[in-house]
Amino acid sequence: MLEISNLSHVYGSGPGAHHAIEGLNLSVAEGELLCIVGPSGAGKSTLLRSIAGLIQPTGGEVRIEGKLVKQTPDNLAVVFQDYSRSLFPWMSVADNVALPLRRKKMDKQQRRAAAQEALESVGLAEAGKKYPFQLSGGMQQRVAIARALAYRPALMLMDEPFGSVDAQTREDLEDLVLQVRGHHKMTIVLITHDIDESVYVGDRVVVLSKAPAHVVGDLKVELASPRDQITTREHSDFVHLRAEVGRLVRGLERTPA
């Protein structure tokens, strides 16, 4: 589905240049849910932007279904880390969610229905007529997620999508992502700071190094599905895996890059 080979990205040039990514290789299978963890400022968002074709990486290549990514491919949706800046303040919540559906062969009625359905799935059935600024941060984040879900992309890229929701909602949204993936053969790449979350949600967890980012750990998560917030998290395999991921991430912090 997704092939990243020898990816590098440098911001700026000369002495002030910042090497965000260097020699990163990664491949994601169709239908896989890959979690990416890594220290802050590692270059995770940069990686995601390269996959989405929003920036041209300075080196290496990204291929989606064999096709080289030059501009944003069809059938891809991004949930940005800055969710509040990615919602359009001049549009109602429902219009925000429905807008990307203009790219699909859907009439107004279908778009509206799909938007409402997606809003219901994130627990915001009543919020459609409101404006983004009338919602709390966590609700705005769920709107951004609903917008990506409504689009039904083949590949969904999520950049710390549960960053500002409360613990309960966070668990609900984690389960929602798992459920959506089950229903609509979606490939999902999810970036997170939360090690437990990466193991709970992922089929696979990739750990990135400090900048310049490259892959330092790649673990398969073999936990029974459907996963359950209580039983999965107390399972010895879960505990073992999160310790392993934690060690990889922490190890990075100890050794200076």
């Binding site: 991004v78 940005f80 303040p89």
Partner: protein
Amino acid sequence: MIRTLGVLGFLLVLEAAGRLGLIEALPPVSVVLVTAAGLAVDGSFLSDVGATLSACAAGLLIAVVTAVPAGLLLGTVPAVERSVRPLVEFLRPIPSLSLIPLAMFLWTDSHDAKIALIVYTCSWPLLINTMYGLADVDPIAKDTLRGFGFGPMAVLWRVSLPSTAPFIATGVRIAVSVTLIVAVSVELLAGGGGGIGAYLVQAGSANRVDRMLAATVWAGALGLAANALFTAAERRLLRWRWAT
């Protein structure tokens, strides 16, 4: 409340000064206000007001439909912006009132000269604000739409333009406030074509200071009304902006 008191106090002082003969040349406030009320039903004055307002409206409209698209073009195509920037920087500081003789020379009809100069003057705040607003569009908002596969034109239309709308609205408000200045100035010099300015000149040459002041009061009231109208429209159209 305190503002109303301030205005009333000021008017009372003026009135007293007029009545006591402290300001020899000027009629008392009450006389001016009575004359002003009379002007409201004076057909010839009303047609002058109509001439001024129609020129303002036409000029503003033409300026909006040309300067805003021009601003969008300059703001989105850096090469165009770079190539016209020297021209813009040379033209912009020229006080537009100094162009009145040129406008009167180019457009022999004084009504046309007036509109042309209003268009020219209004274009600057509209152009500059549109460009400024475009530069201020949140890149994440644009990336959001790009991330769903939308092309540059769709991003311009669906993200950049609505984001820029508040800046354009400010440009329009600035433009509105200068239309009256330009219109009356041209009328003062060009006469013939009617308008509030022409009325002022006539009143002046007939030594009717009360009429002069009354017409000036109306000009001020029109300016205030136009500003209130556009501010209200802006608040209505850009509710989202005011609420955030």
